[in-house]
Amino acid sequence: MQTENHNHHEADQIDIIPCMSLTLQEVEHIAQLARLQLTDEEKALYQQQLSDILDHVAQLQQLDTSDIPPTSSVLPPRTMLREDHPKKGLEPKQALKNSASKEKDQFRVPPVLD
């Protein structure tokens, strides 16, 4: 499957991103950046699946976009500011209600510094 994809796209591609094949180390690095604990099976699965997906999206490299501005929002550019009037927010009790661990109106977490 992967080999087929490689051949399929080869002819059209500019060489910014070559046909993608992630290494296991790269998968582990991404998981670490995303703060995701993965099992060995998951790592192997994502290594293959993400490589296939990256292969598919590589077709975007076919397009010359040197003069095209990026779109980060479809809305017209504008600044949204409201009047700076204080308003009631959630009560501490409500805001803390969904936390797994709390103490004296605060979220409780494991020690940040030793």
């Binding site: 910014i16 991103i17 992630l22 790269e26 998968v27 991404i30 998981a31 950046l33 995303a34 703060r35 995701l36 604990q37 993965l38 998951e42 699965l45 994502y46 699946q49 993400l50 296939d52 997906i53 990256l54 598919h56 999206v57 590589a58 077709q59 975007l60 490299q61 397009l63 976009t65 095209i68 501005p69 990026p70 779109t71 980060s72 929002s73 479809v74 809305l75 949204m80 409201r82 959630l90 409500q94 805001a95 209600k97 969904n98 936390s99 797994a100 661990s101 979220f107 977490v109 494991p110 020690p111 940040v112």
Partner: protein, 490 residues
């Protein structure tokens, strides 16, 4: 009292207002449908029958009180509705179809939900969804698969599959859904109901638990487009709690008051009729287009030349935004906390245990696309191609009032049919993604069946903030066809 007919919003509201039916009777009617068939369909993650009865009784009391004082009755007073479980309803848990939010009970209402509660709705429950709305089949839910009421071996589509199945199974006259890449329109199509993805910014996203913030929109599913419009108009409008909501007046006039579609121009983009699509889908969509022509619309061929790039653009931008949005699930303020061992383990284990496979896949993909060294080549390039896709629509709408296309290349596929092949699943979204990338509205509605009696849907896409033209066209179509009146025998 005639309980055989009121499964539409319009019928229900008529019966409520003339006093032929109380909200409690109407609510009990839908609750009994749910009780009868929910075990086969599984449309809900959290049904709320007691709350619904309580709200219905209050609605009846309120109606009596207001009538007595000759005061205005809220437009949806006593109307039962289902709500997709990615929307916050105060006091009812909102799981997003994820284990990580299993016990999350929002302390506030989404703005759209608040507006509908103010209009008088009764909440029947929270409907099933792919985890964090990531999926096209509702198979990615941590709370089980929803079954298509037309064939329970098939998926209802996704991610708003629970809402679509609920409407098709007559569990609710209308349901809220969300659409980031087709998640209202595709399940509407698979279940033979009508569904709107509004213009980006038209309906507040406040209280919609975020997936892809530049793409997310909050829509409605119902048995016909007039019902969809009734609900949509009540939830649209500016909200100061959502900086991306737009202050544009919502048209006062509904589609039913403007029946002629003579002279409206409909573009048919050839890029949406691809080899490999199910022949019955193309045939029925083209038949529907000729119905529009016979009703006086002008049909012309149009082109959206960058359509084929919508899939790769979407599957970079949406996961990138998701990877940032879902960083908030760290076990601290809400959601599952797997361990208190140390800070990093709390993050990685809570997320590793709490998220399902598709969510992890998209977080990984998005993290990679945004990471140093790859940002420009992936995310940056996708944003630029997004501009080209948006420009395709701008050019098309210089000539036409609406664009007609299939919703999905196939009818509902079998549960488990795409196995473990994420790319095959992503291809289901190929016709719905462009509207989200361009921010334009899309309205899906049924136009026939395939050989296996599975519904086929088409969509009309419109210019920014021109939902009205879509409703006019689709309403005219539904006035002269009866596909929307056909429901499965559950």
């Amino acid at each position: 009292m005639s309980l055989s007919s009121p499964f539409t919003v319009k019928d229900s509201l008529t019966l409520l207002s003339i006093g032929d039916l109380s909200s409690l009777e109407l609510t009990d009617h839908f609750l009994s449908k749910i009780e009868e068939n929910e075990s086969a369909i599984h449309a809900f993650i959290t049904p709320t029958p007691e709350l619904a009865r309580r709200m219905a009784k209050q609605a009846d009391q309120k109606r009596a009180q207001l009538k007595k004082n000759d005061e205005t009755i809220p437009p949806l007073l006593g109307l039962p509705m289902a709500i997709k479980d990615v929307l916050c309803v105060e006091g009812i848990r909102a799981t997003c179809g994820s284990k990580i939010l299993e016990d999350f009970v929002p302390p506030f209402n989404a703005t759209a939900v608040q507006k509908l509660l103010d209009a008088g709705i009764v909440v029947l429950g929270k409907t099933n969804t792919d985890e964090f709305a990531m999926g096209s089949s509702t198979e990615n839910s941590a709370y089980g698969v929803t079954h298509n009421p037309w064939d329970i071996d098939r998926v209802p589509g996704g991610s708003s599959g629970g809402s679509a199945a609920a409407v098709a199974a007559k569990f609710a006259p209308a349901a809220l859904g969300t659409d980031t890449g087709g998640s209202v329109r595709q399940p509407a199509s698979f279940c033979g109901v009508s569904g709107l993805k509004p213009t980006y910014g038209r309906v507040s996203r406040y209280g919609l638990i975020a997936y892809g913030s530049s793409l997310d929109s909050l829509g409605v599913l119902a048995g016909n487009v007039e019902d969809v419009e009734t609900i949509f108009r009540l939830m649209a409008g500016f909200d100061e709690k959502d900086a991306t909501s737009i202050d544009k007046p919502v048209p006062k006039q509904g589609c039913a008051e403007d029946v002629s579609i003579k002279g409206l121009r409909i573009g048919v983009p050839e890029e949406y009729f691809i080899t490999g699509m199910q022949p019955a889908v193309e045939r029925k969509v083209r038949e529907a287009i000729s119905v529009f022509e016979s009703l006086g619309a002008e049909i012309e061929v149009t082109s959206l030349p960058h359509t084929q790039y919508a899939l790769p653009v979407y599957y970079l931008i949406a996961p990138a935004e998701a990877s940032a949005n879902l960083a908030r699930y760290d076990g601290v303020r809400f959601g599952l906390r797997a361990t208190n061992e140390d800070l990093i383990s709390m993050f990685t284990q809570s997320r590793g245990f709490g998220f399902g496979p598709e969510v992890k896949r998209r977080i990984m993909l998005g993290t990679y696309a945004l990471s140093a060294g790859y940002y420009e080549a992936y995310y940056g390039q996708a944003q630029k191609v997004r501009t080209l896709i948006k420009q395709d629509f701008e050019k098309a709408f210089e000539r036409v009032d609406a664009i007609a296309a299939p919703v999905a290349p196939t009818t509902a596929f079998r549960i488990g049919g795409h196995g473990d092949d994420p790319l095959a699943m992503y291809l289901e979204d190929v016709f719905t993604l462009p509207a989200n990338l361009a921010g334009v509205p899309g309205l899906a509605f049924p136009v026939g069946f395939d050989q296996e009696q599975l519904p086929i849907g088409m969509q009309l896409m419109g210019n920014h903030f021109d939902e009205r033209t879509l409703f006019r066209l689709a309403h005219a179509y539904q006035q002269s066809t009866d596909w929307h009146l056909q429901f499965p025998l559950v």
